[in-house]
Symmetry: C3
Subunit: 341 residues, 3 copies
């Protein structure tokens, strides 16, 4: 429990109402009780303000007059909410030590402040810095290096030699450093190209559940500092993702593609191999990117769903566009008659 005053101090906010009001946690405008703080970041939810039971609300200056109980007034209520939610929900205390059921090889370099969960496997030459947490059932192969304060969740696989920075969060089911898809056809048979590169992951990265990041073919696959990857993303070998780029779930990036810094890539996006995307590109969900994007800006593709009867008709029309263009050409040049198609 913190007072509204303590909370406001944390986000440089101005208090309206009762500075001594006690707050236990965050909640939504609709569900909050008098010991919870809520926020109004999207004007769509303004309608819930009058009836909200929240003890306090985080608002912008413009909305401050609408609050009936207490409030914290800030420039950006959503950022303030994120900080206050973090303040009120500190990470669970983790018991340091190594579970009896973990299998840790002898030739490792592990800080005394780590926490290694049950059924974990840690192979030779692994280095774990201070306060690293390894979740149950996770496997760290030979030579993996993990920086301070990084959390690897349960049932994760980190393959040999992968290097992970500080304060990284890797969610369950993730696989880092499996072989890239390197094959070549030799007289009808596909032969494997050894994947001898590694994976380097920067600091402050977050990687969502069941996402996969392949090791490089020769050089490394690289995930920059502050990159945030959602669930079920596939990152091919030798991909480079620039600092602070974020990618939503189910996207796939083919091998050797380079993505710049501060990009925002939607869910279900497919990005072809061997292309380059500059900094500050935004790509909307389910887009198909087949060529380099050389200018910052927003890119899209895909046609949103419509009733199927209409869709059928439009697909037919799409297939006829060539003919339609020919008909228009003929109308433009009636004198050519039937000679030109």
């Amino acid at each position: 429990m913190l007072t509204l005053a303590q909370i406001a101090l944390h986000v440089d906010g101005v208090i309206i109402g009762d500075a001594e009001c006690k707050i236990s946690n965050v909640s939504t405008l609709q569900a909050a009780n008098s010991q919870q703080i809520s926020f109004l970041a999207n004007s769509k939810y303004k309608k819930y303000l009058p009836t909200s039971q929240a003890g306090a609300v985080i608002v912008s200056k413009e909305m401050a007059s609408l609050v009936k109980n207490s409030a914290i007034v800030v420039d950006d209520p959503y950022i303030a909410y994120a900080k206050i939610a973090t303040l009120l929900n500190p990470p669970k205390k983790i018991t340091t030590g190594i579970s009896d059921t973990a299998m840790v090889e002898s030739n490792v370099n592990i800080s005394k402040t780590v926490s290694i969960g049950p059924q974990v496997v840690i192979e030779a030459n692994v280095k774990l810095a201070d306060r690293v947490i390894i979740g149950a059932g996770t496997v760290l192969q030979d030579g993996v290096i993990i920086g301070e304060g990084t959390l690897i969740a349960a049932n994760v696989t980190i393959c040999h030699g992968v290097e992970i920075g500080k304060n990284v969060v890797i969610h369950p089911g993730v696989v880092i450093g499996a072989d890239g898809f390197g094959i070549v056809n030799d007289k009808g048979k596909w032969i494997k190209i050894p994947q001898i590169g590694g994976v380097k992951i920067g600091n402050d990265v977050e990687i969502g559940a069941n996402t996969t990041v392949d090791r490089g073919a020769i050089e490394d696959t690289v995930i920059g500092d502050g990159v945030k990857l959602d669930n079920q993303i596939q990152v091919g070998h030798n991909v480079i993702i620039g600092n602070n780029t974020v990618i939503a779930g189910c996207s796939g990036i083919a091998g050797s593609t380079i993505i710049g810094e501060n990009c925002i890539i939607g869910g279900g996006v497919g990005i072809g191999g061997h292309i380059e995307i500059v900094d500050n590109v935004m790509i909307t969900g389910m887009s198909m990117v087949t060529k380099s994007l050389t200018k910052a800006g927003i890119y899209s593709s895909g046609i949103p769903a419509e009733p199927s009867s209409q869709w059928h008709k439009n697909v037919v029309r799409y297939r006829q566009m060539d003919k339609l263009a020919a008909r228009v050409k003929k109308l433009e040049h009636p004198d050519i008659g039937n000679i030109t198609k």
Copy 2:
């Protein structure tokens, strides 16, 4: 081995032929032998009836005359097949008890009738009801609650506090309750928004291999009763899926989207965030849904594959549609001459 009479009774079917014929299992019309029962649910397979060696066939009244051996006549042969296959393939007897290699914390509430496999991890405050089965290598984090008769397969991760109903089946590699993708940009850096909601999964739900369901940001992510999710689906934070909705593989649903009851969603569908889909909507495979669907019905998008040479041409035409429309306008208004483009 059951007699045809016993089987027919189970599905309220009418027997043609030998009621005492012994049946060991189901099979296809093409592969069945005289101790197996097959079915004809799709008239496309009618051609296999004359030569089928099946001891008996499940058919509709209309098809009954085509059967040469014995038959069970029912209204819906496919439903009857499902019930008979279940009857002939009862779940394998599971030995109750806890494997020696499982790691179960002391402060748990576990029925004596559960089966907990090898290398499992069960953290504190977990509650497992009667006849729950936990497959090898699975991790149940702090406070997970699982209802009667639910089967969690191997190498699954259920994160802290997730609640799962009765008679649920969760396949290998699934991750339930990892953090949602909640981030906000604060002066160029992405900061994490704590994901303090949970996940509630109803009764009779099935979740396919390597599917991921994120925990809510503030309130819960909710999967209704009777929902069936195929493999490799991503369900974002605070998504609500209504009862008896089914979703095929590789689909992704972004955060805070609400899907109604009895919907049927195809494979590879992408559904944007913060939208609402009413009950009884069907969405065909690989559709891109970016807006709320407010009427029941069938929706589609995407253009089916065609020979690449044609595809290239059509993409070019697609890009020229604006110009084509302008040309048509000019033809409609020739008097405007060259003034209007």
Copy 3:
């Protein structure tokens, strides 16, 4: 360390320069040092030849004159590179034996030359041939059969009765043989159809991280010899994939579809159920395949991303195509006047 002569012999190449030059490994033209061999397979990288520090370069006859140090001249530099990289990076020596922390049931048939990692679970009736390697945390259920020289990586789940051939590589997080998505609607409730088929995987197959292959409904799901599947692919029940077909990441194949031999399928492709694709078909990335492809050739769909402002315009135009066609028709038949739309 091998001499250039030894390496050239391995690929039937012709040496230019110093046959006794010692080579430790492969590298890129840009990064190689004097003890490394590089290759030029794509003329795009020709520009790096003059400044490359590589001790030797694998080149085609056409490019041989551009090399400043030593070279191996071959017909196909990329294939030669694959073979040389394999020669210089032999598989790590694996210690045979069974980890103390593995749980192996008694009624199994396991060669003495296998290597079974920590925290592995091997259920009854499993058969492992010579030199099989089972990675940490992997679960092999009842009756799994694995052929000589096959490597199953960490945290993989192979469900009951699955048969895997020789020299197969299965990467972390893969699930083989989970139930297919078999359900049928009985008066509003979905009932499960038991999935009693199996999975048969041929020889020389590679399956990427977190890919899922479902077991058959009645008969088996079949992956042919030499098939290569990338990461995060979903293969539905009763799919049959012909020999030497390769599929890139994030693709999904719905149930009962049959794919021919020697096909090349790009990433993010969605293939509908119950269709047939003949041999030697190539499908480009993110295509949507809804009908059988009965002729060899290259197929595509999807419209590449463009700046969003343009995309918005094109989507609107797409929706108006029907009207545009009607307007063209009216221009073609002005005499019909306003009667026909």
